[in-house]
Symmetry: C2
Subunit: 422 residues, 2 copies
């Protein structure tokens, strides 16, 4: 040592602040945890009595008996793509329910669809890059893209999803500016947060535009099992594969979070095999939790369709309760409407666990966050679910999956009081 | 659209190669999967008959009965730090077995220790940064650091782990060069791959040096439950906390992969609360798999110490079989020794699931990879487990946890034949 005396190991130098050694620009540290309040309209949680606890328990017993000893080996001694039984279920289910012929080789099991987002972002994004996303979209994707120093540009939505003419104009402008987007991120079925379902004709239009401009599509279908009708349209990937003789420009992802339980962290990517293999090389996590994969595969093979069918009914009723509550407490002639100069519009989602509210112009829903929190109410301010926070300011997402009918009704009434009073 | 005709949605343009749209510099795509061969001495797998299948099954039933409905809510409706019951077990177990008083607030459950590596690397590393690592160390860490455009610099090891004088010299040189390392990555207990255990006096020396130079320590204790004696020395973090009145420069990580089963993806970070909260903000995965956390917490509370105690004995016997096989087939007077001009030295690990071989100077163990693979033999070439691949070239890691005694013996004999013939 040249400049400093040798440290004496019996009396170490004082400790230092390790946090000060971290890189700049990290997100704010998490706050202290507080329990979920009664009127929590955030978080994508689901109906607790609908968790098939009995079925999952039986599945756990059966799966551990069959495969327990294989837990001694990473990936159960099998392919790091994920447990073969689960990939086979996913492939068969997508073929049967989403009109998407799929082989288990095209399925990569991931630790929740958030890992799918991470893998695709790693594969395609560098700082400064651009992603096209729906103008109202999943807030987690917006923040994940931003954390990479990339940014989303919003494409307009109507009741059928992405507006093709606007997508075309955007891609044209971006190509002209020399900044073509790296991919288009879309949630065509039960769009988050609008709840729309893109019709098949619109899907073909979007695909044609993406192909024309040579832009990949990342299709997030996390909520598609929860479409009220139970009749899913063909996925963008399915339509693309049918037209392209085996080479698709679409990377698809799905999840068991909404159909079975969000605290299980299992999702899946479906893509052409070369793409799957490239994404696998980025998935350096030694595999997704095998016990959850085993239990889901065992449970889903016997019960998935029946379970989801019941869950859809439960959620549809909650959705009706939510829409009724919003119309009652924030609709025409309500104190909220009088205060804000017009009624609040509530979406009529075609499935899922949330509604999307549009307030009169000039409203900023974020200003109700703090007073609502004091009443035990949480909601997603529109700005956080919108590519352009200013555009989103007068919007709001309310999740209803985890609340009882009574709490939905009481919670919306309480939220209306907060809005009327602030 | 200015330059191109409007695409006709009835006849889409041809598909394009989506892989060509990905960023440059991605790792090579994964190859086609092939089953694990009989003599697979790689991968950190464990003894399959030792998986406590019965205990895990009972635990799954009990845990689902108690907490199954909570799966409807992300993080079981609790703190995203991880299931409270599991954090409490980890805290109590570390206090009892690793002399490290720990509160459950200081524990962050992660999806395997690999996620701990990712979070710490994200918090501390930018491209161009330097990390100090043991000259022989976990290959996964070397590649994760490299993937961020940072690099490891190796510090010398002796039978007691990091050589303090060399660490001091390195830190001095790096400080002088204006490139102080962002942290020191160390595996003090059952070092991977040497199997050494750092004595308590050495731990104090390393700590004093790190503090003196203001360099954080990342202490990876994934194998520490598998020390043959069952008597773990105090962790670096424990010694640091005892001296520093509550502010530690050590971030600790552990795992259930080695003590219970690697296909379960559950590990943990232990750090001061502000550091835990910062790392939580980077853990944007909506939580670690709750079912695996629930089952582990239920199982471990009742059975962990007994299970690990039995597992240690099983592995110790396999280790003896492995050392015997290496000494028999590669030791003095063996065909390998005659061929290479000297015997192969095998480590005498103090725990764990691997031995570390040192071949005579001039050997490059990587050249045996292909001919060994033809015989159904896999091993870790030393270069992949060494910060300086040249230094590591004459070394080799052989894992023994997952093979039977017979396969250990036959596999090492077959490997010796390959070496003697190539």
């Amino acid at each position: 040592m040249t400049e400093t005396a040798r440290p004496n190991s019996d009396a170490p130098a004082g400790a230092f602040d390790i946090a000060a050694k971290m890189v700049d620009g990290l997100p704010q540290p998490a706050g202290a945890w507080t329990p979920i309040p009664r009127f929590s309209f955030v978080g994508g949680n689901n109906d607790s009595p609908s968790v098939p606890v009995g079925g999952l328990t039986e599945a756990a017993m059966a799966a551990l008996t069959k495969h327990g000893a294989e837990l001694a080996t990473y990936n159960l001694g099998g392919n790091p793509q994920g447990f073969a039984g689960l990939r086979e279920f996913v492939a068969e289910s997508l073929a049967a329910n989403a009109h998407m012929p799929t082989s288990s080789e095209q399925v990569l099991v991931v630790s929740g669809s958030l890992q799918a987002l991470d893998l695709v972002n790693t594969a395609f994004l560098r700082p400064g890059d651009v992603v096209i996303a729906e103008e109202a979209t999943y807030g987690g994707m917006i923040s994940k893209v931003a954390r990479r120093g990339a940014r989303c540009i919003g494409v307009e939505l109507d009741d059928d999803g992405i507006v093709p003419e606007h997508l075309e104009r955007l891609l044209d402008e971006l190509a002209g500016a020399g900044t073509p987007p790296r991919f288009i991120y879309t949630i065509p079925t039960v769009q988050n947060p609008t709840g729309s379902v893109m019709p098949i004709g619109r899907r073909r239009e979007i695909l044609a535009i993406a192909r024309h401009f040579g832009v990949p599509i990342f299709e997030d279908e996390c909520y598609s099992d929860l479409q009220w009708t139970g009749e899913r349209p063909p996925t963008l990937r399915a339509l693309d594969c049918a037209d392209s003789e085996g080479q698709s420009v679409v990377i698809y992802c799905g999840s068991f979070s909404k159909s079975i339980a969000p605290a299980l962290r299992v999702g899946y990517i479906v893509a052409d095999v070369p793409v799957v293999r490239q994404l696998m090389a980025l998935k350096d996590d030694a595999g997704t939790g095998a016990l959850e994969q085993l239990v889901l595969a065992e449970y889903a093979a016997a019960h998935f369709d029946d379970h989801v069918s019941q869950l859809r009914e439960t959620l549809r009723e909650k959705c009706a309760a939510m829409r009724h509550a919003v119309n009652t407490h924030m609709g025409a002639l309500s104190r909220v409407a009088i205060k804000l100069g017009g009624p609040v519009q509530v979406s009529d989602p075609k499935g899922g666990i949330f509604v999307w509210l549009t307030f009169p112009p000039g409203t900023d829903t974020a200003r109700y966050l703090a007073p609502a929190a004091e009443r035990g109410i949480q909601f997603n301010e529109g700005a956080a679910w919108s590519v352009d926070p200013e555009w989103g300011a007068r919007r709001m997402r309310l999740c209803f999956g985890s609340l009882s009918h009574q709490d939905i009704s009481d919670g919306v009434a309480a939220l209306a009081e907060v809005i009327a009073a602030n």
